[in-house]
């Protein structure tokens, strides 16, 4: 490459530090958002996997109880009667720290002797001087994760208070579990104790499951035995439905981050094409001097490569920083959803950084390709005038607007014909965005034309100058408006989606929670018939609903059964698809109802049969309908309590809804209920208001990350508009100088510049409203349904719309301020000299 050409290119940028900085920062920000989300997702994913494998060890299969936990005797039988070689009993349960009740931990009760041969310590490594058999010989002892020890400042032989339900219990720490995985991979190890200690701690005589190492034929043998009340599951499938949810959530985030990158691409394109347009005269002269096309192409592409590389490097660094805060949010969200154990962020693989870097540089090069080719095709000396260039841009823009028609059709077809695929849903969404983007430059031109007369009337010819300036520099205003519109529409679309979702959840909660107080327990035999009768007899209580919750394993993962006898105000269900009289038929034990996400995921419709493992073996239940459910437990089955009791032989109750008389003295009734509950400390008391509040606060926390991404998208948009407007105004310097010479005073120049930039902002804001609503519709009716199986209806609240338009306007006005100040301050005389 010719050194003088490089010198010329370098000086070009060095003389315009503003332009260079904005270009670099814009690209960096786009890359940072993408890389940040990608890294955060990856960390979260790996942390989950590590947790899962930590808990499972090298287990291949698990025997789990279908209705209740497994009795101890089965474990003995496995060895003695059925000749299974590798089996280990496990209790897995959750506790909270007494000192910090929000901190949930997983307890793993194991047989330490078995553990040596069985797991080969593949899932946890005892810390130094930890004696496993001591767990057996000394009751009430446990091994604590090293990280927890140092976090709580505990020493060996210290006591630790744990909350089981609401009861505090003490354990003594006799050793540690090494957190090898915390540094390498990130998950917090579980608390380990002997199985007998665990049974005592949780006050149970059963085990959660039996871990097995089986080869395929052994597994078949065991299945053919058809053991009562247990199910043999593949250890890897256990959390399949959770994984699916987590994946769907992460896919959503990735799509958001790609959107940020897309806006970044606009920025890159705008920047590079501007740098070429500015030098079209220079390129013409160079061509006349004998520089050939390839040389020019090489120079411009190298420029893009260098700028892109520097910016991307910066973006990857920024993305790394961003990931640190995002990963917390992602884990909080997905962790809240699906895992009880604490999941710590993991160090992501270096490959992701490399991927982000390559993507950033490649994107820059691709975006710069068109302007670079343009530069290479400059005819010697016949430098095209700026106005001619803009006229051809106008033609291209009009053609692009036409192309958007078939693209939108393709999107419609895609969305109409695929009903389940999330990926096709996203492709459809992106096609819609692409189609609108192509429309925007022409729409901007038309908009400017429409407002021109009004502007001319209010500001005279300088007003019409402002409007004309927009279509006169369409090659840049078009791209800037498109970038800003997409970003603002994203902000609006997500805002509408989240607010609609929140309203749906709120309504659903109010509809579902018909009782005034909810009592729940995880212990057994707390709510006997007589106890419930006593409760009903309390002055001011008009009735109760009683519920049995159990988790049942199925081939498609664990499901929750909610067996209920409805209270005086009915079931509080909102049915989505149902047979006529579905609820009455459920009450008369004709079948079951399934939650909407479950129906969606397994394609269940009214009339289908769902096989469930019962105490009497596998039974098929008729599905009478599906009901709205925003729980994230992987799927719920609702049936009448009597149907459940028939098949599961289980009289236990773990949830009671209490209905209060609105006319009686509420305070008094509540205090009587509280006195009544003193006998049973494991019962948790929650008022409906409390549940509703808490659920919504969890909801808000879940969507905090989308908020963050919204802000980032807004920031990228702001920068895009800022740099585009800056470059437009800088290029108009000579024109502004002429106007100054003709007597336009600084104030008028200010009006001219600011009205032009705010006009662009207004245009973007206005275009973003329909696009944002379309995005919200797609997010609600396509993406969310396909990700989570949740249906909700769009609520067009004005706040997200106003916020979007204000964002666009503010960005554009702020972006207009510097060029305005510059236009007012500069020295007229030198600007009038020849270029």
């Amino acid at each position: 490459m010719n050194t003088l050409l490089c010198v010329a290119a370098t000086r070009f940028y060095l003389k315009r530090p503003w332009q260079l900085c904005l270009a670099i920062f814009g690209i960096a920000l786009g890359v940072a958002v993408y890389v940040g989300v990608d890294l955060a997702n990856d960390s979260a994913r790996r942390a989950f996997n590590v947790t899962a494998s930590l808990i499972n060890g090298s287990t291949t299969h698990q025997l789990v109880g279908t209705a209740n936990d497994i009795p101890n005797s089965l474990y003995r039988d496995l060895h003695l009667k059925y000749g299974v070689r590798f089996a280990a009993p496990v209790i897995e349960d959750g506790v909270r720290l007494a000192s910090n009740t929000r901190r949930e931990l997983t307890v793993l009760g194991i047989d330490p002797l078995k553990e040596t041969e069985f797991r080969g310590f593949s899932s946890f490594i005892p810390g130094s001087e930890t004696n496993l058999p001591q767990l057996i010989s000394e009751p009430g002892t446990a091994l604590l994760p090293e990280s927890l020890m140092s976090e709580l400042g505990l020493e060996r032989d210290d006591e630790l208070g744990l909350l089981v339900g609401n009861i505090e219990k003490k354990i003594r720490v006799i050793g540690t579990v090494r957190d090898i995985s915390l540094t390498a991979e990130g998950a917090t190890a579980p608390i380990i104790m002997d199985i007998a200690t665990a049974q005592e701690l949780f006050n149970r005589t059963t085990i959660s499951r039996i871990d097995l190492i089986l080869n395929d034929s052994e597994a078949e043998d065991l299945t053919s035995l058809d053991l009562p009340n247990v199910l043999l599951t593949d250890a890897n499938d256990r959390n399949a439905s959770f994984d699916e949810l987590a994946r769907a959530f992460q896919t959503n985030l990735t799509a958001l981050s790609l959107l940020a990158l897309l806006v970044g691409v606009f920025l890159i394109y705008a920047t590079m094409s501007f740098a070429v347009v500015q030098r079209r005269k220079t390129f013409g002269v160079l061509r006349a001097l004998g520089v050939d096309r390839n040389q020019l192409l090489l120079v411009t592409l190298s420029e893009a490569l260098i700028i892109g590389a520097i910016a991307t490097l910066l973006g990857v660094l920024l993305g790394h920083q961003l990931a640190n805060s995002l990963v917390e949010l992602v884990l909080q969200t997905t962790g809240d959803f699906y895992f009880r154990s604490n999941v710590a962020p993991a160090t992501p693989s270096i490959l992701l950084y490399i991927k982000g870097f390559i993507l950033g540089v490649a994107t820059t090069l691709a975006a710069a390709a068109a302007p670079a080719l343009d530069a290479a095709h400059t005819m010697p000396q016949t430098a095209i005038s700026r106005a001619k260039l803009e006229r051809s841009t106008r033609k291209i823009a009009d053609r692009a607007a036409l192309i958007s028609v078939p693209i939108s059709l393709a999107a419609l077809v895609l969305l109409g014909f695929s009903t389940k695929s999330l990926y096709l849903g996203f492709i459809g969404l992106f096609l819609v965005i692409a189609a609108s983007t192509l429309l925007i430059p022409t729409a901007t031109r038309v908009f400017a034309k429409l407002v021109e007369p009004a502007l001319e009337r209010s500001f005279g010819i300088s007003g019409s100058l402002a409007a004309r300036g927009i279509s006169a520099s369409l090659s840049r205003t078009g791209v800037a408006t498109a970038a800003l519109t997409v970003a603002v529409a994203t902000v609006i679309g997500i805002g509408l989606m989240v607010s609609s979702f929140r309203i749906s959840v709120d309504e659903w909660l109010s509809g579902t929670l018909t009782a005034d107080i909810y009592l729940s327990t995880e212990s057994e035999n707390v709510f006997s018939n007589s106890r419930i009768e006593e409760l009903n007899a309390i002055q001011g209580v008009i009735g109760t609903s009683i519920t049995r919750f159990i988790r049942v394993p199925t081939e498609q993962g664990e499901l929750t059964i909610r067996a209920q006898r409805a209270g005086p105000l009915g079931w509080g269900l909102s049915l989505i698809e149902e047979f006529p009289d579905a609820i009455e038929r459920m009450e008369s034990n004709e079948g079951i109802l399934v939650s909407e996400p479950l129906a969606f995921r397994q394609g269940l419709e009214p009339g289908d049969k769902l096989p469930l493992p019962t105490k009497q073996g596998k039974e098929e239940f008729t599905i009478l309908g599906s009901f709205k459910d925003y729980n994230t437990n992987g799927g719920t089955i609702l049936m009448s309590l009597s149907l459940y009791r028939t098949y599961w032989n289980d009289e236990d109750i773990n949830g009671v809804g209490v209905y209060l008389d609105t006319n009686s003295d509420r305070e008094n009734t509540i205090s009587e209920i509280r006195t009544f509950l003193e006998e049973t400390p494991s019962v948790r008391y929650r008022s409906t208001d409390f549940i509703q509040e808490q659920s919504l606060s969890i909801f808000d926390q879940t969507f905090k990350i989308t908020e963050v991404l919204r802000v980032l998208a807004g920031l990228v948009a702001f920068l895009g508009l800022f740099s585009a407007l800056m470059s437009i105004e800088i290029e108009k310097t000579r024109e502004v100088a002429t106007l100054r010479a003709m007597g336009l005073d600084p104030r008028q120049i200010g009006i001219l510049t600011l009205s032009q930039t705010s006009l662009l902002g207004l245009a973007s804001g206005l275009f973003a409203i329909p696009l944002g609503i379309i995005m919200a519709i797609l997010l609600i009716y396509v993406i969310n349904v396909r990700s989570f199986g949740w249906s909700m209806s769009l609520v067009l609240s004005s706040q997200p719309l106003l916020f979007g338009v204000l964002l666009a306007l503010t960005a554009s006005i702020l972006a207009g301020i510097y060029p305005t100040v510059r236009a007012i301050k500069f020295n007229v005389a030198p600007q009038l000299r020849d270029e």
Binding site: S385, R386, A387, K388, G460, I461, S462, L465, R468, G469, A472, R734, E735, A737, T738, L739, R740, A741, M742, G743, L744, D745, P746, R747, Q748, N827, V828, A829, L832, R833, D834
Partner: protein
């Protein structure tokens, strides 16, 4: 701003202009009466454009005083200066400097519109000028659709359109062929004479010097009055 036209419409008293250490103009005294045709000559880089910029209030002198139409420029703030330029000055630049996004007609209307002349009147005035300058039929062309001579004629029309007191022309024919140049000069001269407009022009053209009332020649940063 009301102006009492006095005998000395433009006065430069001991004006000095330097860019850093480089002295472009020193001890420069100039008096110009209303309606005069003044030509400024000098070699390239001698300071002709600088002088015109100083008179037009586009640039400030390092030392000395400039009085235009009875105002001393250094007492005026930016807004008042803008006002002065808008009402009393017309500029013709060497490189035309037409606004690329406005048509020929609109470029000519611009100063009238800035001075509050109604749309209808400004269109009529502009059309008249277009006709006078033999530009009829080109009103809706954008600057890049005009030849160099046509662009310069539009620029002249623009400078004349609001009937300014003073026209500052900086080598208005430097980019034109000889024939067109003469035509353009003739136009400027006759129109200004007819209207009694002061015309100050930087040029190299010998023919022009013959028509001038006063000729100033700049050499080694000194201004000398040359005989006509």
């Amino acid at each position: 701003m009301d102006v009492q036209p006095n005998n000395q419409q433009i006065q430069l008293i001991k004006v000095e202009k330097a860019y850093g250490k480089h002295n472009v103009l020193s001890n420069c005294n100039v008096n110009i009466k209303r309606g005069e045709f003044v030509v400024i000559v000098g070699r390239s880089g001698s300071g002709k454009s600088t002088l015109l910029n100083l008179i037009g209030g586009l640039d400030k002198p390092t030392l000395g005083e400039i009085n235009i139409l009875g105002y001393s420029l250094h007492t005026l703030n930016e807004e008042k200066l803008s006002n002065l330029r808008r009402k009393y000055f017309g500029f013709v630049f060497q490189f035309f400097n037409l606004i690329p996004t406005l048509t020929a007609l609109e470029n000519i209307r611009l100063p009238m519109s800035l001075n509050g002349i109604s749309k209808k009147d400004s269109i009529n005035g502009a059309k008249l000028l277009l006709k006078e300058l033999r530009l009829s039929g080109l009103e809706n062309h954008f600057p890049d659709e005009l030849s160099g001579g046509e662009q310069q004629r539009v620029a002249i029309a623009r400078a004349l359109s609001h009937r300014p007191e003073i026209i500052l022309a900086d080598e208005p024919t430097g980019n034109l062929d000889l024939e067109t140049a003469n035509e353009v000069l003739d136009l400027l001269n006759t129109t200004c004479r007819r209207r009694g407009t002061t015309l100050i022009m930087a040029t190299h053209s010998k023919e022009v010097m013959g028509l001038a009332d006063q000729i100033f020649s700049i050499r080694d940063s000194e201004i000398k009055k040359a005989s006509t």
